[in-house]
């Protein structure tokens, strides 16, 4: 870590540093850029915090995006996580008002004992409210609930010119649409309202069913179309008769009232970086076979706590260290129904052929509820996501091929998970990007944005 030194005194004289330069890491730990950190503690801190700052800026949360959407090389990052106060809660409507740096975990700690749950949740609860809006995240209930922004009726956006804009579907509606899924580029979200939904139990009525191939997956999806949540784990290593085998995991909030006790804090922390060779085709194949047969029967039906159902990996903090120092990249697409099946099969074959080991491959359907964001990722069809370890000379060419295939099948990739898409790919996935650029705050940027719009010029 490099530290800028105080200009008034030698560093050993003074524990106070004039600045706080640091490598803010994204979850994939690739790419790595250093930036100035200027945390926001209060809603009034921005834009005063930018006085004397001559670089671009970007508000960041918990750094759970995978690539460079939460990074700004040589810029000023504004961590928001201590801006995490609850500002209001209406127990009759379930509308929570909170500062944008609050994490979904903190919201759950407050809401669950009161009989409420997140309207949409990603696979980790360690993301901020502001980040969830900025990436318009989606969950396992996309078909019935849409994306996160659909449940955010109002928020405040502060621009670098100091103007504070109340944004909703009726007020500053253009900035509202640009900010939902706007990758943090439109300014700082200081607070937001979130419509929570009532629950009577922590339990999820879980159905886990093994399948082989995309046809069986689609059959199960039809069979369980009334389940609120569905997601599938899919094996991307096996070929032959085990090609595209997986487990379909449907869930509904239990209707049987049960104690709404708070969650305990995770105790496991992945303690160190695994060496690069630890993740290879054999170890991943073994993991996948174990996972597939973890459920011995073809069909398992059981109540399960929401923590392991929604956040299986949150139990191990820093699980990304498993991928070693080089980090990981994620490939996540949404391909419309028209080409969803052929596209998914073709891409799965390409991945299996590459021999690039990967677990944690996830398959699910996006429904028809339109996202409110101008740049939102979800579109009706199949969504697929998997992580790749970074292997020099192999991973990046594969990512290029997979990105091009996604484009051929009419799909798009997810900026929040991306470290690889080219400017040409991005501009084809999101042809509205220039319209969006009009709402970008002139003082804001990200390494992602510079990469895909060629603003940066150094890539």
């Amino acid at each position: 870590m490099s530290s800028a030194q105080s200009t008034t005194a030698p560093p050993h004289e003074s524990p106070i540093e004039s600045s706080n330069k640091s490598n803010f890491e994204s979850w994939g730990r690739y790419p790595e850029y250093s930036a100035e950190l200027k945390p926001l503690h209060w809603q009034g801190d921005f834009p005063a915090v930018l006085e004397g700052v001559h670089t671009g800026a970007l508000a960041v949360g918990l750094g759970r995006s995978y690539g460079d959407v939460c990074l700004l090389k040589g810029g000023t990052l504004l961590p928001t996580t201590s801006m995490n106060r609850l500002l209001g809660f209406d127990a009759t409507t379930g509308v929570l008002t909170a500062e944008a740096g609050i994490s979904l975990a903190q919201i759950l700690d407050f809401a669950v004992p009161r009989g409420f749950f997140l309207p949409v949740t990603p696979g980790t609860k360690y993301v901020t409210l502001g980040g969830a809006i900025a990436n318009d995240i989606h969950g396992k209930n996309h078909e019935v609930a849409g994306s996160f922004g659909c449940h955010v009726p109002t928020f405040e956006l502060v621009r670098s010119d100091g103007s504070r804009r109340l944004c909703s579907a009726t007020e500053n509606s253009d900035l509202y649409a640009a900010t939902i899924g706007g990758m943090g580029l439109t300014g700082v979200i200081t607070w937001a309202q979130l419509r929570l939904k009532p629950i009577v139990s922590r339990l999820i009525d879980y159905n886990g069913i093994q399948f082989h191939g995309i046809d069986e997956f689609l059959d199960l999806k039809r069979e369980y179309q009334h389940a609120e949540y569905n997601v599938s784990w899919i094996d991307c290593v096996s070929t032959g008769k085990n090609f595209a085998r997986g487990i379909f995991m449907a869930g509904d909030h239990s209707k049987v009232p049960a104690p709404l006790t708070p969650s305990s804090k995770p105790k496991l922390v992945f303690p160190f970086d695994l060496p690069g060779f630890a993740l290879n085709k054999l170890s991943v194949a073994a993991f996948n076979t174990l996972f597939f047969h973890k459920q011995m029967k073809r069909h398992v039906q059981t109540p399960e706590d929401y923590e392991p159902y929604f956040y299986p990996l949150d139990a191990v903090l820093h699980w990304n260290r498993m991928y070693g120092k080089r980090g990981l990249v994620q490939f996540q697409y949404a391909i419309p129904w028209e080409h969803a099946k052929e596209g998914t099969v073709a891409i799965l074959r390409e991945i299996a052929k590459s021999g690039l080991a990967s677990f944690l491959a996830v398959l699910k359907a996006f429904g028809d509820i339109p996202s409110l964001g101008m740049m939102s990722f979800p579109q009706p069809g199949i969504m697929f996501a998997l992580d790749f370890p970074i292997k020099p000379g192999i991973t990046f060419p594969l990512m290029q091929r997979l990105g091009d295939m996604t484009l051929e099948f009419g799909g798009r990739l997810y900026p929040a998970k991306d470290a690889c898409m080219t400017a040409a790919q991005f501009q084809a996935f999101y042809p509205q990007w220039q319209q969006f650029a009009r709402y970008k705050d002139p003082a804001f940027s990200s390494s992602f944005w510079e990469r895909v719009t060629n603003d940066g010029g150094d890539r």
Binding site: S6, T8, A9, I16, Q43, L87
Partner: protein, 252 residues
């Protein structure tokens, strides 16, 4: 709700310096268990956010007043108003203070730090000590610092203000403990908050939520002198034991 929570009666708590990092974390815990709060801090917007948070988390009652506590002449009226608002006071938590610029060794800088951390604190503590002593009840919890345990080259002005504060609070305890008042000297080690985030090595500082959980427990007990995290009692015993002839050559 657990049995212990059901058994306890809600406390009425006054917090001076309610927007400080440690105070905020304690307020969240007190609010969540249903205590009544009166919050005082200088910046009205920040104070409103902290008060709103306490309200949402379940405080039985939250009232607040924005005030610059450097203005000691205003203390009696301000504190009387707070006590009236809560109808009775069980706990007063004195948590305001400034770190100062440790690179600035001028008298003006020292005077400002000493005024806020020592003079203004002594003013409020004196009023509250009298209030509690008259009632023969209550807990006066004062946030000092391990920095007051020994003069160090890196922050001796802040340290001097906290040394004065610790001795004042210790002495007050020895006078009014027998009247039934718990007077607490709280000495946190370095804690990760907005005040300390720009300090070197702040990522290794104690987690403010853990510190607050300890403090809320200790304040319920009324412990005389609290080091938090507890390890700092030992660290400071060692630091105090180093002869000055050696200490002055060290870079602490």
């Amino acid at each position: 709700m657990s049995a212990t929570e059901e058994a306890r009666t809600p406390k009425r708590i006054l917090v001076l310096g309610a927007t400080s990092g440690i105070a905020q974390a304690c307020i969240r815990l007190w609010a969540a268990r249903g205590d009544s709060l009166f919050l005082i801090a200088r910046n009205a917007d920040r104070l409103n956010a902290v008060a709103a948070d306490a309200n949402v988390r379940g405080a039985a009652h939250v009232d607040s007043a924005a005030a610059d506590l450097d203005d000691t002449a205003a203390h009696p009226a301000l504190l009387a108003h707070a006590v009236n608002s809560l109808a009775r006071l069980d706990i007063a938590f004195i948590a305001f203070g400034v770190l100062g610029d440790s690179g600035d060794h001028s008298f003006a800088s020292a005077e400002a730090v000493l005024h806020t951390n020592l003079i203004a604190a002594v003013s409020a503590i004196t009023w509250l000590g009298d209030y509690f002593a008259q009632r023969h009840a209550g807990t006066l919890a004062v946030l000092s610092s391990v920095a007051g345990d020994r003069g160090r080259k890196s922050n001796y002005i802040y340290g001097a203000s906290k040394a004065g504060l610790s001795v004042f609070v210790d002495g007050l305890r020895n006078r009014i403990d027998r009247e039934g008042v718990r007077v607490m000297t709280i000495k946190p080690g370095p804690v990760r908050t907005a005040m300390t985030e720009s300090m070197k090595g702040s990522e290794k500082f104690a987690d403010v939520e853990k510190v607050a959980a300890t403090l809320v427990k200790e304040i319920d007990k009324g412990t005389d002198v609290v080091y938090v995290p507890g390890l700092w009692r030992i660290i400071m015993a060692v630091v105090r034991a180093i002869p000055e002839s050696i200490f002055k050559k060290m870079n602490l």
